[in-house]
Every structure is written in structure tokens, then in C-alpha cells.
Symmetry: none
Subunit: 240 residues, 2 copies
């Protein structure tokens, strides 16, 4: 029985990824270098890499190289930034897909955080926007934003699809309070995020205020656990 060359090479590379000789997030040697190492042509190396790509182990970017995938995006908790900015900083191309856009009464909202607290913060009617953030075409977060009615009235669906709320709102932002928790993914979110039922997600609830301290946005962000982790640097003062 004849062994097919590119499958052997794929198996070899699979091993290097598994034992972290090629760590997640790092660039693989170029196709040319791998070709030299395995004494194979670029075509063969590519076929091997395509196999690994179909298994979700690696991704490629033209002009850059092959990257060991399933890299959690490391989100620093140092300040109020947008997801898009962080994705761009880590070299990925962000994209938004609007799932829902419309005004609704606060009382009908169901969240882990109870609806009445949203009403208290934002008023009886709010603009609700549900969207999915994509990174390199793959779902990366489901974000639901509730926005104060007077501010939301100025916004259109297309605006929200193209830019972030923080860019769009005509107020000076003051800061935010976030709670970070974990949960098992809901049925709807599993479909939106394209993850298997029963997998874990990070759930972030954020209340954003303007410079005067009044609440502008309440939002809920859901991240697949294998794609995201938050990074915090703790100064020595914090130690007890």
C-alpha cells in the first residue's frame, strides 16, 4: 500500500502542533522552508497544510504565512476599548453582522441582569442592537447593546453595522464597569457563534457612562471560551 506523501507530512506537522513545538498563534516556517526540510515541492507542502486547515489547526494569510490557529484573543483589561481595536491590534480583520436593530420597551428585556435595573439606568424605552462580531470571517462574539433612547434616535442600522458605538455616540465617555462571568452557551448563541451545544462561554456585562457619570450604554458580550481570554496586569500594590 502506497503512502501518500502529503499525508505523511501533514501527520508530522500535526504532531508538532500538538506538542507545541509550533505554539498557538505563531507563524510556521514558510512553505519554501518546509519544502527544503521535507525535501518536497511547494505543491506537496501546500496540500499538507490544506489538510491541516480543513481540520482547523492552521490558518493562512497571504503575504504573511501560516499561523497555528485557535489562538485565544487576549483582551487586556487596562482601559475602555472596543473589541474591533483589539482584533486589529492582533492582526485580524474585524467585521460586524447585525442580527437585530430596533426600539423596545425595557420591561420586555430578559437578561442575567434584570430588566428593571436597565430601566432604571436607561429609561423605559431603549434602542436594542444585537450583532455578531467576526474575526477573519469567523464568529467571535455576540454583543447586545441597549442604548438610551435619545442617543439611539440619532443612529441608523447601517451606521451601527460599520462603526462602533463608542465612535458613533456624540458624548465624551467617562468609563465603564464590567462583570466577567462564565456560562454554558445558550441554544441561540451556539447557533450564532457556531460552537457546539454545551460548550463554555465568557459573559461580560458592561455599563458605560459618559463624562458626567450618567449611564449611556448597557451591553452584554458573549465570547466562545476557546477564542478569548482576558489579560490583567496587577501592580504590586494590589498584593495583600
Amino acid at each position: 500500500m502506497r503512502q501518500i506523501r502529503y499525508q505523511i507530512i501533514a501527520e508530522n506537522l500535526r504532531g508538532r502542533i500538538a506538542d507545541r513545538r509550533y505554539p498557538a498563534g505563531q507563524l510556521l516556517p514558510s512553505e519554501a522552508m518546509l519544502g527544503a526540510e521535507f525535501d518536497a515541492s511547494r505543491v506537496t507542502i501546500r496540500k499538507a497544510l490544506e489538510v491541516l486547515r480543513s481540520e482547523g489547526l492552521v490558518e493562512s494569510r497571504q503575504g504573511l504565512g501560516w499561523i497555528v490557529s485557535s489562538v485565544p484573543v487576549r483582551q487586556p483589561l487596562a482601559g475602555l476599548t472596543t473589541i474591533e481595536a483589539q482584533l486589529r491590534a492582533s492582526g485580524r480583520t474585524p467585521e460586524r453582522r447585525i442580527i437585530a436593530f430596533g426600539f423596545r420597551s425595557t420591561s420586555s428585556i430578559e437578561t442575567p441582569e434584570n430588566a428593571s435595573s436597565i430601566a432604571q439606568k436607561l429609561g423605559d424605552r431603549v434602542l436594542e442592537v444585537i450583532r455578531v462580531n467576526l474575526a477573519d470571517g469567523k464568529p467571535f462574539a455576540r454583543v447586545t447593546v441597549w442604548c438610551r433612547e435619545d442617543l439611539g434616535a440619532e443612529l441608523s442600522r447601517s451606521q451601527v453595522a460599520e462603526r462602533s458605538f463608542y465612535d458613533l455616540l456624540p458624548v465624551r465617555l467617562g468609563g465603564a464597569i464590567q462583570t466577567i462571568g462564565a456560562a454554558v452557551v445558550s441554544g441561540e448563541d451556539a447557533a450564532l457563534l457556531e460552537v457546539p451545544a454545551g460548550s463554555a462561554v465568557l459573559v461580560v456585562q458592561r455599563t458605560t457612562t459618559d463624562a458626567d457619570g450618567s449611564v449611556v450604554l448597557v451591553s452584554e458580550h458573549v465570547f466562545p471560551a476557546h477564542l478569548t481570554q482576558f489579560v490583567v496586569e496587577l501592580p504590586p500594590v494590589a498584593m495583600v
Copy 2:
């Protein structure tokens, strides 16, 4: 392994900020000087600095230079370390149960963070302590600590059961970096934490350094999702 230059430089600078070689509020060397030091062009240095800016670690002012973000940015995050202290503050009685205590070789460790990185940080042999933290008799965290061999040699099982590592270690602590993620609970953890199989947990990995910047502890903390939430206050950051 191929690597992207500006990411290496960013990681290097991140280290200098973390260990206070570039103290908060201070000007960094100019882009030109950094370029000379790293033998890189201004474009590359700038890209590295932009990454750090997106993480909220540095800011820039035209005509002046790059500044390490000042303390107020980090201060609110101090709340994260006090999870155990918060328990005490909320009137519950904390308790520790030691599951395992002993030295082992780093290579045999299995963690989300790969073993080789622990070996690189702490050396080939480490003291491994696994314990369960209880609040009012109910488990609320499984904590595994890997400690540098020379420091671990001074510790006894009973000491570890009664006091925290931060109290016990005879070094001045310099700071820590934490990553927060989510996962589905493992079988062992489900038993230790007395939660149903398939439920979600928060996973925190922490690397603690001493005042000199060398790594003292690597630890992994697992919290049942329904018992724990992290609260973070985010100050505003200059939007790009």
C-alpha cells in the same frame, strides 16, 4: 521559528513596563532611540508601540513622546486580587483543604498553559500544591500553585494549609499577570467543587513575579461560574 518583529519588540517593551524598568508616567526612549537599540526602523518600533497603546499600557503626545500610562489606569484592577479577601469581608469564613503537596518535574505537568512555559519560568522541578478553598464549608475554588523549588523547600504542608503563599514567601512581590478564561468543568474539578458535570467554570492563570521581575509562582484558579464574577472598573482611554 519565524516570528514577527514588531510583536517581539512589543513583548520586550511590555516586560520593561511590567517590571517597572519604565515606570508609570515616565517618558519612553524616543522612537529613534528604540530603533537604534533594537536595530529596527521607526515603522517597526511604532507598530510595536501601537500594540501597547491598544492594550492601554502607553499613550503618546505629538512633539513630546510616549508615556507609560499612569497608575490610575491600573488601580481599579486591584479589586481582582481580593477575591479571597472579599469573602472574608463579606462575613464568610474561609478555609483551605490540601489535596496534594509535593515536588515534581515540570515536564509531567499538564495545563492549558503548556508545561514547557512553566519550566522556562520556574525551572525543571517545582513544588506543586493543589488545594480547594471553601467558604462556609462549601467549595468555591480549586487552586493549583507551582512554586520555584528553592522557595518551596522552605514550606511545609501545614503552613500552606493555614496561610497564603503571598504571606509565606520570603520575597518582596513585584506584580502579576492574570489571564481569565472560561471552560467546561473537568471531571476531577466537578468532584472537588461539588458541581454537576458539564457546568461552566472560570479559569484564571496567574504568573507572579518578585520585585526583581523573576517568576516566583505560576498558579491556576478554577471557580464555579455560578459562584464567581469578576468586577472591573474601566477608566476611559484615548480612542483611536
